[in-house]
């Protein structure tokens, strides 16, 4: 399931190709010339808004439809994390820079590539601005990293609705914005049109290259454009409604899609780790260990491993896994294994790179073999010869150990010291997984 992972060189080549088409389309859209961009803010050519919103709507429709149909795993698509404070301040500065300089970083590259001198100067300006930012950022480090820092947050998460609702809303809003843009262009139309001063004779206005002039010159094109617009609007609305009706996949649907690989991983005991391996991880301060205890709160209160979190399936499905540290290793446990295996499926479809395939050293989620019961057999009762992870615990997932009072983790066996714990031999299964994305993400 998309998105895919590649070797570094393949990934670089793919990125160059994507960048090529990106630059090509920007140039074709007229974004290699600053006046076409600045015109947006004087209403006579709202090309920027039209291209940008059409692109956002197109990509949004395709990605969320693909996600609803199970072609793409949206949880592994990069969503720029929300830092509200810096986004608002930075966005404002960017807007001011846009109207003063006439480009944005992407379009200035296109301008520079087509030998526009102002574009080349602008690129220098952007580099200078980034240099200044790098030098001054430590002075407001707290604001930069914590002001309105909400992690991966989408509009539909914020509103608590299915993504399809927001998708449809954005489509309707875009249609409204396009209508507004067309009206504005008519009101603010300029007789001479935008032009570009040539390098040698700065004040001579260059001829217009505007769509309107073309439309007048060629009635057939105008007709075509009219039908094209209607068809585009109809298609967009159809896809949005279809996306809404199908809905984004629930955890159950994702598990059903990946059931073969998930069941095989559990059956072959590839993701069950020995209690001694977990003990080692608890004492390894380099590992970003996250323990998810999926038992009932009453069992959890009686006894749990130190630093384990008590979570239920509903919490696992609704965003618990979204903001884990990128290199986190998650260990799921229940009293025996049944509930833990089930919870493992719910996490594997969210966190593992290819949940459809049986796990091959790439899992970020593991199950504590034998559960809390076997853990206590070994580290409370000292039964060092308890079965290893190849043996499934077939119990009914109730706690077989009795505690007089609810101790929680205030007992030695919640985190036994390595020296005093019974020694066991085991084959280590947990691999440190390199996160697929850098913390800084796609941009910035």
């Amino acid at each position: 399931m998309a998105p895919f992972t590649f070797t570094p060189w393949t990934s670089a080549m793919i990125t160059v190709i994507i960048g090529f088409f990106f630059g090509f389309v920007l140039e074709r859209a007229g974004f290699g010339i600053s006046r076409n961009l600045a015109a947006q803010f004087y209403f006579y050519d709202m090309r920027v808004l039209k291209v940008m919103f059409t692109a956002i709507v197109t990509a949004m429709l395709l990605i969320f439809l693909a996600s609803a149909l199970g072609f793409v795993d949206f949880s592994r698509v990069w969503v720029p994390p929300t830092y509200l404070g810096p986004a608002v301040v930075g966005g404002f500065l960017l807007g001011v820079g846009f109207i003063i300089g006439g480009y944005c970083p992407g379009t200035s590259l296109v301008a520079a590539a087509t030998f526009k001198l102002d574009g080349i100067v602008y690129v220098g300006g952007v580099l200078f601005g980034l240099l200044m930012f790098g030098e001054t950022a430590p002075a407001f480090w707290g604001f930069f990293n914590h002001a309105g820092s909400l992690g991966r947050l989408t509009l539909y998460d914020l509103l608590g609705v299915d993504a399809g609702v927001v998708v449809l809303g954005v489509v309707l809003m875009a249609i409204g914005a396009f209508g507004f843009a067309e009206i504005m262009e008519r009101i603010f139309a300029q007789p001479h049109g935008p032009g570009t001063g040539s390098f040698f004779s700065p004040s001579r206005p260059e001829p217009s290259i505007r769509l309107k002039a073309e439309k007048c010159a060629c009635p057939l094109t105008a007709l075509w454009v009219k039908y094209f617009r209607r068809a585009a609007v109809a298609t967009a609305l159809t896809i949005a409604v279809a996306t809404l009706l199908i809905g984004q996949p629930s955890a159950e649907r994702k598990i059903a899609w990946a059931s073969k690989g998930l069941d095989q991983s559990i059956q072959e005991r590839k993701i069950h780790i020995d209690p001694a391996e977990l003990l080692g991880l608890m004492h390894n301060n380099q590992a970003r260990l996250v323990m998810a205890d999926v038992r009932r709160p009453s069992d959890f209160n009686l006894f749990h491993l130190l630093d384990a979190q008590n979570v239920n399936l509903r919490e696992l499905d609704s965003g618990w896994a979204t903001n884990l540290p990128p290199a986190a290793i998650v260990i799921v446990m229940s009293n025996d294994e049944r509930a833990a295996n089930e919870a493992w499926k719910h996490l594997a479809v969210q966190l593992n790179p290819d949940p459809q395939l049986p796990v091959a050293d790439k899992s970020r989620v593991y199950v504590l073999a034998g559960g809390v019961n076997r853990w206590l057999d070994i580290y409370q009762r000292g039964q060092a010869d308890s079965p290893g992870p190849e043996t499934a615990a077939t119990g009914d997932d109730t706690c077989r150990h009795r505690f007089a009072t609810a101790l929680g983790s205030r007992i030695a066996c919640a985190r036994p010291t390595i020296e005093k714990a019974p020694r066991r031999t085991f084959v280590a299964k947990v691999r440190a997984v390199i996160p697929t994305h850098h913390a800084a993400g796609g941009c910035g």
Partner: protein, 174 residues
């Protein structure tokens, strides 16, 4: 006023938008991350900075993750994207006959003024892109398409900033 024929015209903005959207979808679908530009700029800048003052870069919490110690700032997919954008823009411009040494500006300002404005605007844009962790490509376009809350807030502020300063700067463009 009769206009002389153009070398090649631009695409209809809606058609260009759909094409751009398909490119963006392709990037999201295949690689899992969208388009971007300022990320590549930032890495090129840090690379230059690390060549001049490596110890200084090591001590800066913002720059060190990119270029501190053994980290190579250019070892990042956004640098490749910048390369692709330059190539794509050049090829498109060449095919359309728009590769021409010139300065794009309003008719009422001199080239020098335009260059100064371009540098100031670029500087603000660079500073803002650093602050917002992305520019119009990485935040507004890519983040907007995946419905990130921060990206939409960012996008609204870009338009707000632009429109707020459009009137005082009208002479530069019209």
């Amino acid at each position: 006023m009769k206009l002389p024929p153009e070398p090649s015209r631009y695409w209809n903005p809606y058609a260009a938008g759909i094409a751009l959207g398909i490119v963006l979808f392709g990037a999201l679908f295949v690689t899992g991350s969208g388009l971007g530009a300022s990320g590549g700029f930032a890495r090129v800048m840090v690379f230059l900075e690390a060549c001049v003052a490596p110890a200084h870069v090591d001590r800066n919490p913002h720059l060190a993750p990119m270029a501190g110690g053994q980290n190579h700032p250019l070892d990042h997919h956004m640098v490749w994207m910048v390369l692709g954008v330059v190539l794509g823009g050049f090829v498109s411009g060449l095919l359309a006959g728009r590769v021409k040494l010139q300065t794009c500006k309003g008719p009422r300002i001199s080239n020098t003024t335009r260059w100064a404005l371009a540098f100031i605007g670029g500087g603000l844009m660079g500073y803002g892109a650093g602050m917002a962790r992305g520019c119009t490509s990485g935040q507004a376009l890519s983040g907007g398409a995946v419905l990130s809350v921060g990206s939409w807030a960012f996008m609204m502020m870009v338009f707000a900033g632009g429109y707020l300063f459009a009137y005082p700067l009208r002479k530069a463009w019209n």
